[in-house]
């Protein structure tokens, strides 16, 4: 199989509602990513957008973001899902031989609308929407199921929040980095019972862009490229009542596919860094177990800081607890993974990271998942 490289990334995030129009964020990250890749707009064959419409209160929001990201008189497609899915489709676009250089762009301006209220509109109007279920409630149900299944205490959950916030303080691109203590978490108001607000990933405004290139182009550029070693993506049932909430079966499928492609047989040893999509702190644990990085229910073993524990470092960037700019959140996991294997992650750099893994999820009860493994 041909190889595909990542040659540049850029991130942008803000905890405060941005004064930029949502499409201006696309310009900011696209320009920066192309600059980091050392190429200009003319070298790009296709734009792969990963964005949700209604989160900015519009239909067809990519009508503004594609041209704003420089997509003009060239190929474009918009994946209406998390940005990491757009990265997967972009990878396939290069493998198909259609493109040499592509730009993946994802914006998430969550301050335009109430995200949780909006989530109810993707429920079927007959059976489930009248229940008043929101995405936060669905995520809390999953987290609670997992907690009960594995006897996780609320103190352990609070310790995870402290860990993620501590890591986010080291990450210049995190938007939420205020330190927090265990007792502050335990005394915070409930967001959705039994989860307290700091246990949820806070929405923020942000964007991310990633430049991918075919092997010949990447080698021509003369800098050591980061290679995409494996991808996987999968979908599971829409109906919460149809599944065991304490599991993430779509992610397990996606991981299996990605490991097979990357020839990874022993993930805990072969993966150095995992950037996970932790919509709650418990989803970080569920995801790392679904990915086979830790045994199921073994959370107690790894409450320490990720930079100092043996085994894969989980969310050294602070993950989504450091800010969740909707569709851009998953693509940011990829940018972080690339930063780690390039050795340019900054203060949250994991020593000697050679293989990193980005993961994202979307839909009800995280029905859909994508995984991308990158390495030197």
């Amino acid at each position: 199989m041909d190889k595909v490289a990542i040659i540049g990334t850029a991130q942008w995030a803000s905890a405060q509602p941005t004064s930029h129009a949502f499409y201006e964020l696309a310009t900011i990250v696209a320009e920066q990513a192309l600059h980091n890749a050392g190429i200009d707009r003319g070298a790009v064959d296709a734009w792969f957008m990963g964005e949700y419409d209604l989160s900015v209160g519009r239909t067809a929001s990519h009508m503004y973001t594609v041209p704003a990201a420089g997509g003009f008189y060239q190929d474009e497609i918009r994946i209406h899902d998390d940005g990491l899915f757009a990265a997967v489709q972009a990878f396939l676009g290069i493998l198909s031989g259609e493109y040499e250089v592509v730009l993946v762009v994802s914006t998430g301006v969550t301050s335009e609308t109430c995200q949780d209220r909006l989530s109810t509109y993707s429920l079927d109007p007959f059976f489930v929407r009248p229940l008043g279920l929101t995405e936060a409630i669905a995520n809390a149900m999953q987290a609670h199921s997992y907690r009960i299944r594995h006897n996780i205490t609320n103190i352990e959950g609070a310790q995870r929040v402290v860990k993620s916030r501590t890591q986010a303080q080291l990450n210049a691109n995190a938007s939420v980095w205020a330190p927090i203590t265990v007792s502050e978490v335990l005394n915070a108001p409930y967001a959705v019972y039994p989860l307290r607000s700091p246990e949820f990933a806070p929405y923020c405004d942000g964007a991310c862009a990633v430049v991918m290139a075919s092997e010949p182009v990447a080698r021509r550029l003369g800098r050591p490229p980061i290679w995409i070693r494996g991808i996987g993506w999968a979908n599971d049932t829409y109906h919460l009542g149809d599944k065991d909430l304490a599991h993430l079966p779509a992610l397990e499928k996606a991981a299996e596919m990605a490991y097979h492609m990357a020839d990874i047989t022993d993930p805990p040893r072969q993966v150095d860094v995992a950037e996970l999509y932790d919509v709650t702190v418990y989803h970080e644990i569920m995801a790392s177990e679904a990915l086979g990085l830790f045994e199921k229910g073994a959370m107690h073993q790894w409450l320490q800081e990720p930079l100092s524990t043996p085994g894969p470092a989980i969310n050294p960037s602070g993950g989504l607890i450091g800010g969740r700019p909707a569709a851009a959140a998953g693509l940011i996991r990829l940018a972080e993974s690339v930063g780690q294997v390039m050795g340019r992650a900054g203060r949250h750099q994991v020593d000697g990271a050679r293989t990193a893994m980005a993961q994202s999820m979307s839909g009800w009860g995280n029905q859909r998942a994508a995984v991308m493994i990158v390495g030197r």
Binding site: D75, I77, F126
Partner: protein, 386 residues
């Protein structure tokens, strides 16, 4: 990398309002009929690509609900939305997935239930900037009427000439069992129908439809084992342009489409599109757009699009039939429409289009259109692999 072919298609009947089924059931109808057509079971499918445009269906992210009906549980599933171009973008994404060699069989599904929104136009208007653009009174129909007016001014195109496009497409739709509007019209009737937005009259504008379509694509090896007559994909391009309509060179030219077409023809080795393309299924929601699209696609020179329809070239019996299915003028399930074009083009190549089959189709062109005439998608299918 591998060659890719369409090996089966499935469509639902397109109507104003499908009251008897829910969203997911509608999707299931198209998927089932497609798999039956290809003689495949869902277990043979490696991945699903799903297209729908958000806002019209009363449900956001409809893909989540329909994923099961599309066969997407436990499988890779990719959701596409490129506004009106969604349908063909879905087909192109599926094409790339098979061509990459990672999958051998990929199912492309697109659905739209425009009837679930009381007023599709008010939803379309949310795409525009709320401060500058949203309140100027422009609509989707403006995107047909402005160019129509300009075309009249530049080339002397008449109402009666445009009406011929409507007569032709309505006649074709009568031969297509899946089409939404199935009645014949005369030039007189078109000219006397209600004025929608000058100069376009009711019978020059598309309806809004409910329906779903599915197309199954396979790699060369699988395709050959399934059928003697697959529709080989020769190549596809898509094209983005600026959102700002005032920034275009001239509203009478479909500049971005002309550029996209030239790129596609170069890619698939077409030198003379008028001679080498046997049939075209275009995203033409207005009579004016079909005329201008045939010009941009190089079927004739600029301003001569009316000649093609006047001289019968684009009619079903003509030299280069355009929209033999009745086209978008008679059926428009917005986000699914582009994939219907691909399905119809594939049927023509496979020789299975039924009553609206064009004789001896070797090469077919299909087209999708989205945004403010902003996104153009094109694909060429052929009877022989390229």
């Amino acid at each position: 990398m591998q060659r890719v072919a369409v090996v089966g298609v499935g469509q639902t009947h397109f109507v104003s309002h499908r009251k008897d089924v829910m969203h997911s059931e509608l999707c299931f109808e198209a998927v089932n009929s497609c798999l039956r057509d290809a003689n495949l079971s869902i277990d043979d499918v490696n991945a699903i690509v799903f297209g729908v445009m958000d806002g019209f269906d009363g449900v956001d992210c409809l893909d989540r609900w329909c994923a099961g009906a599309a066969g997407g549980y436990g499988r890779p599933f990719m959701r596409i939305n490129t506004a009106g171009a969604t349908g063909l973008s879905t087909g192109i994404a599926a094409y790339h997935q098979v061509a990459s060699g990672l999958s051998d069989v990929v199912l492309a599904v697109a659905e739209q239930r425009v009837s679930e929104s009381l007023d599709a136009q008010s939803i379309l208007n949310t795409a525009a900037c709320p401060i500058y653009d949203r309140n100027i009174g422009g609509t989707a129909i403006t995107l047909g009427s402005l160019p129509a007016t300009r075309h009249m001014g530049l080339y002397g195109t008449t109402h009666a000439q445009r009406a011929l496009v409507s007569v032709k497409n309505h006649r074709n739709a009568c031969l297509n069992p899946f089409a939404h509007l199935r009645f014949e019209v005369t030039v007189e009737q078109v000219l006397q129908s209600r004025l929608i937005e000058w100069p376009l009259r009711l019978l020059e504008c598309c309806p809004r439809s409910d329906g779903a379509v599915a197309v199954v694509l396979a790699g060369e090896h699988v395709a050959r084992s399934l059928t003697d007559r697959p529709a080989w994909i020769h190549g596809a391009v898509s094209m983005a342009d600026t959102f700002f309509y005032g920034d275009r060179p001239d509203v009478a030219y479909r500049d971005n489409l002309a550029v996209a077409a030239r790129r596609l023809y170069r890619k698939v080795g077409i030198c003379d599109p008028r001679k080498e393309i046997d049939v075209a299924e275009l995203y033409s929601p207005f009579t004016s757009l079909e005329i201008m699209q045939t010009e941009a696609l190089g079927f004739c020179s600029e301003g001569q699009g009316v000649r093609l329809v006047e001289e019968g070239v684009t009619w079903l019996e003509g030299d280069l039939p355009v929209n033999p299915s009745g086209g978008v003028l008679c059926t428009n399930p917005i986000g699914a429409t582009g994939l219907v074009r691909m399905a119809e083009a594939a049927l023509q190549v496979m020789g299975r289009a039924g009553e609206h089959q064009v004789n001896g189709v070797k090469t077919a062109l299909c087209h999708g259109l989205g945004g403010v005439l902003q996104f153009q998608t094109l694909m060429v299918l052929g009877a022989e692999p390229r």
